[in-house]
Subunit: 212 residues, 2 copies
Amino acid sequence: MQIAILLYDRFTALDAVGPYDTLSRIPGAETVLVAERTGEHRNDTGTLALTADAALSDVTAPDVLVVPGGPGQAALMDDGPLHDWIRAVDTRTTWTTSVCTGSLILAATGLLKGRRATSHWLALDRLPSHGAEPTGERVVFDGKYVTAAGVSSGIDMGLALAGRIAGDTLAQTVQLGIEYDPRPPYDAGSPEKAPAGITAAMRARSRFVLEG
Amino acid sequence: MQIAILLYDRFTALDAVGPYDTLSRIPGAETVLVAERTGEHRNDTGTLALTADAALSDVTAPDVLVVPGGPGQAALMDDGPLHDWIRAVDTRTTWTTSVCTGSLILAATGLLKGRRATSHWLALDRLPSHGAEPTGERVVFDGKYVTAAGVSSGIDMGLALAGRIAGDTLAQTVQLGIEYDPRPPYDAGSPEKAPAGITAAMRARSRFVLEG
């Protein structure tokens, strides 16, 4: 089973690594970081680089595709070779997935048309223009399309997918292995739970958050 | 403020990226991935590589040091240049921290002697031989030494540290930015919560888990 995680310039590291460190622990899984060009890709802050070991043409039939988010997605919304590749591999995947604003890229390819989906809470209102129906859930399954909310939700998605792919016992084993028993020191992880002033301030600079 | 995150061969990616994507969002923070040699470092499964942009000699006075865990720690337990560097920069840090089995490296340098600390649940019993006192907490503060439990706990640690460094409002802003409102699809994230058979099976192969 091959799991392909897409990289691009100015991705958000945790969007990619949350699914990576859950899905890559499925026995028999081969995980590959793939991008339009091989080599280093810098994240949203520019101080972290992950290596793409494969070019798009090297990955033609992944079982799982993961599209992470990050401000770099804004440069990937136009049709072209990347969209062609996503649509092509989607004909072969068992699961086509995204984290955070990665769902905007998936939606822009047309694959989420008429489907329920989610994204970073600041980006939810951008889904309908691509024909997707935003939901408030943290991880949304619609057929083989799985979208997760902002950044850290990729861990929850990875575990949920691991369960669908390899069963509950394996997914629980992965959860125990990464000791995922979260205890956030604050309860501010959603726009409803965060102090109103913090949510409002972030909404006011949402263009900056989304596009860097 | 400089935040240095140590890389080494066979680290666990989420151990490094959880603290990265919380601490790097502190305004004015400069985050640097540092290792004994610059360039690519492969993780525990070998299918992901992060780049160390700095060598140890390039980083002499970080404000925060983060030592991630991973099976590669087993090769870093002997005294030598890396331990010398950790002890030297520790004289300059405001916070010296670890995630998962990174605490075994810190402990081996002598810095956790007589201190309360934690580690991956499978490695807790290795702390006393280095003079540290294991606790069952997810994130342990003892003076300026902060240790986190297994893998995913680095996110909780990063947020707690962000609060100490930059205040509650900033930490809550980071939490909202990464939409950290966890909803694990299972409740198996600690040895007490996981089904007994899963915990026992993982304990039975703990050497493999810890040393790959």
